[in-house]
Amino acid sequence: MSSTYHYDVIVIGAGHAGTEAALAAARIGARTVLLTTNLDTVGQMSCNPAIGGVGKGQIVREIDALGGAMGRAIDATGIQFRMLNRSKGPAMHSPRAQADKRAYQTEVKRLVESQPNLSLRQEVVEDLLTAESADGQRITGVSVRGGATYTAPAVVITTGTFLQAIMHTGEAKTPGGRGGEGTTSGISAALTRLGFELRRFKTGTPPRLNARTIDFDRCELQPGDDDPQPFSFLTDKLTQPQLPCYITTTNQAVHELIRANLHRAPMYSGQINSSGPRYCPSIEDKIVRFAEKQSHQLFLEPEGRSTQEVYVNGVSTSLPRDVQDAMFKLIPGCEQAEIMRYGYAVEYDYAPPDQLQPTLQTKHVAGLYFAGQINGTTGYEEAGAQGLIAGANAALAIANREPLILSRDEAYIGVLVDDLVTCGVDEPYRMFTSRAEYRLLLRHDNADRRLTPLAHNAGLVCQQRMDRLRTKLGEVDRIAAVLDSRRHEGVTLAQLLRRPEVEWPQVVALAPELATVDPLAAEQALIDTKYAGYIARQQVDVERLHRLASKRIPASFDFERLVQLRAEARQKFTRIRPIDLAQASRISGITPADIALVMAHLDAPRR
């Protein structure tokens, strides 16, 4: 007698995407089950033991503003915090932290376990269950190893690098999505059967060393910030002691060794032919592509407080074990270092994300959502963001409520999702601030102001977050009122502050009551004032975008019938199915003329 369990939302995979998806769905009120092949690897950091970075740190702040777990988890378990780009203008400030890897995943698991409406189960999903409905295929549930079945009207797949995964270290090939773990083939087969296109990507990870065997005296020290800034809008202050990272470098001897062994690197021997990310090249790639460089920096990052394991950032590789061993003998400070885990490259299936709608629901199968690396992205932050959007939309759809779609001027997450579903990917997708055309609006400091009210409407955040936001905004308004009303030598303090050379302390000297305000509110008021002109200008662009976005393209619009359209444009429109002219205009290779034609047909009365 096989068992059957009924839920509203099933999430497959409990990594960074899966946990945020399950938490979001449950917060909205859907009865949710999170299925993972291993309860001990929930929220696992498979690669770099760090959260945030340029573009990514902003995403973590947004996930937090939407009620997600990532910010709280890293605040609780971070071992080093740095604000990157501190000198480069507020839109560029990007938080980054090293995590205690083990503590981080334990904290994420704890948050999942304590979430009402959410069950966490260890299961191996073997197949997806669907039914034919009037509008095509619809998901009905999943079957798992051991003969049990889970049913639900919505399923979110977040399988990471585990679909048909193969790991490469030199000539050695092992099936598996992460060092020491297995792979999943049932889901790939089911997706293919359901009509999804799958392609292959490759990514890699560096070796880990034992800190006891590293001579840190010969490396450069990289400490954390003196005044560490938290990720979560719920965290007031970070108080934990911080651990330093260290920097060392490669040299010509290392490069020669690698060059002499290139024929044994899977990327060069032809053993791997799928493409990897250009911004995260392996050490062998760097040496081939930038042959003129004399050395490359390596960052030695501790993986936690209670382990000696050290992550060697900058030397991702799939060279054979003997070459990895020999390489470190030539690197200053690492001559005696023992490798604890060897670096490897992993190849896996992803589903080109232009098969998705902006809710991350698939176009082929109603009720089925994809999030994370299955969509061809990399990074915990990008995964978590998609998980949150997919999980929230799964729950909202079941409740027959408005979907949560963030626009490009509202959030990096909006840029991320729009890029994925509109342009697809041809290398693993990572966020860069340069992808966001309204970067000045999308700052880490105002993520709560941008998103928490939206999240509140969707039922994603607790009252506490809204209350904190209201308090902060009230304070910002009071400061703004002071700046607008107080005068100094005939000009308002706001006008004074807009002068490039005038900084906050000079204003405080003129208005002593500002000395005691909440520093976060002060920062917000300062940025609002200083950048008012630029922010207003970006707002004009945003309105232009919204005008184009208001030209909705009905789902029934038949691009095939627009015979005047170039064949290429017709094919792309038919595949992507843009929801409005703004999205249509962002599809690669689409010209203003194509848009003009579609616009003319949208405006034309039906014949």
Binding site: S94, R278, Q297, V563, P592, A604
Partner: protein
């Protein structure tokens, strides 16, 4: 608006592509899915159409002219694939520049399966194929409205041809600059990336600004400085051009002779202009120095002829006093001094005498009619030009702002925003910038990935 024109891209279209009027060589263009097959039907059956772009010299096409089949020597330029101007298979037939022959050739092509191109249709196909970057959506609609294929193409080339090359170079330079700036912002932690030095940045911005201002100045000289259409009188020396000029000026507003007129060939050595009114249209009448056929005997002659050639290029309407003149879309052929040759056999030219005023009223009507037809087009071109100029001015303003920010610490995000604004404005003229343009440049220049 779109329905004004048959836009079916699966039709194969044909039209005379050389400028109107008789010239040494004429061009007929055929474009569309069946272009090769249709031209092939006119060829010797042993001739094989190539599968790669090719020029086939000295081929003979069979042509039906006045019920007889003639053999016409031609050169074929063949683009069998999508790598043509319209991104469709295209054949250009270059042959003798005689209008009747070219018309017959077009007619024959139509009998074999092509259809006559509508005004502006080749250009529209090129625009739709993304071959043109100047024209944005509005301009596309302008194209659809436009009446004259050759004139439109000419106008667009005139506008964009000379300025688009420096603008493309400028776009590339600004993109590279933005890529370096963005690399310093997005990849702050990367060993390889050093933020660009403020002094270098300011210098490169100043240079770009200079180039841009140069283009704006150039564009101004190219666009019509006043809105009056130009009517230019051309013809061989002593054809009566200056007499005609004076007669027209007198006819319209009663002022006296303006040009020095004599019976000695080559009396007029400068271009003369006057404003005249033809019906509702005010236009500028231009008299040019004598013809191009004879070698210039002095430097002044040469100078005057250069100027005349320039006037002719900028003409909206040409009054051609030459013996072989023919009527075209923008030319009225005149048989001047008809009072001296009362018994010459009548031809298609408009008979005119500056002396007796015979034909003057007819000429005025003809001018008004012809100008009316081209006015819509001129308006469109001018609008495009001013849009173009406006975009470039905005781009220049953004560059100035960027330069001001270059020395300021902590304003890198604002500087990048100004640079993007400049590229966006420029993009309205030479094509938009997408993130991948920037990222590609970053990844090819810097070793990213720690």
């Amino acid at each position: 608006m779109v329905s004004k024109m048959r836009l079916d891209l699966t039709d194969t279209i044909a039209a005379i592509a050389s400028p109107p009027g008789a010239s040494a060589r004429g061009v007929v263009r055929v474009s569309g899915p069946d272009a090769l097959a249709i031209v092939h039907r006119l060829c010797d059956s042993r001739f094989a159409i190539p599968t790669r772009a090719a020029r086939i010299a000295d081929i003979t096409l069979r042509l039906r002219l006045s019920a007889y089949v003639h053999s016409l020597p031609c050169d074929l330029f063949i683009w069998p694939t999508a790598r043509s101007y319209t991104r469709q298979p295209t054949v250009e037939i270059h042959t003798i520049g005689s209008p009747p022959i070219l018309e017959a050739l077009t007619q024959t092509l139509c009998e074999h399966g092509a259809r006559l191109a509508e005004p502006g249709e080749f250009t529209l196909r090129a625009v739709l194929a993304g071959r043109m970057d100047l024209v944005q959506a509005e301009a596309v609609l302008g194209v659809i409205d436009a009446q004259h294929e050759a004139a439109l193409a000419q106008a667009l080339t005139q506008l964009a041809g000379g300025v688009s090359a420096p603008l493309h170079m400028l776009r590339e330079e600004l993109l590279m600059l933005l890529a370096e700036l963005e690399a310093g912002l997005d990849f702050v932690e990367e060993e390889d990336v050093r933020f660009i030095e403020p002094a270098v940045l300011a210098e490169r911005l100043a240079h770009a600004e200079g180039v841009l201002n140069g283009v704006v100045a150039q564009l101004q000289t190219r666009t019509i400085t006043n809105d009056r259409p130009r009517v230019v009188i051309v013809g061989p020396p002593n054809a009566g051009k200056s007499s005609l000029f004076n007669a027209l000026v007198k006819h319209f507003d009663g002022t006296g002779a303006a040009a020095l007129v004599a019976d000695i060939a080559g009396t007029t050595r400068d271009t003369l202009t006057a404003v005249i009114r033809c019906g509702p249209i005010e236009c500028e009448l231009v008299d040019t120095a004598g013809a191009d056929e004879e070698p210039a005997i002095s430097e002044i002659d040469a100078l005057a002829r250069t100027e005349a050639a320039a006037a002719r290029r900028h003409a909206d309407l040409i009054l051609d006093c030459g013996p072989n003149a023919i009527h075209t879309d923008n030319t009225i052929a005149l048989a001047t001094k008809c009072d001296l040759y009362p018994h010459s056999p009548p031809d298609h030219r408009l008979r005119l005498s500056a002396h007796t005023a015979e034909g003057l009223d007819e000429l005025v009507k003809a001018i008004a009619t012809k100008l009316d037809a081209t006015l819509t087009l001129t308006g469109m071109t001018a609008a495009t030009a001013s849009r173009c100029e406006e975009s470039l001015r905005s781009a220049a303003a953004s560059l100035t702002a960027a330069r001001d920010l270059a020395h300021k610490l902590g304003a890198e995000d604002l500087l990048a925003a100004e640079l993007r604004a400049a590229l966006d404005h420029l993009g309205r003229v030479v094509g938009a910038v997408v993130t991948d343009d920037i990222l590609d440049r970053i990844f090819s220049k810097f070793c990213i990935g720690k």
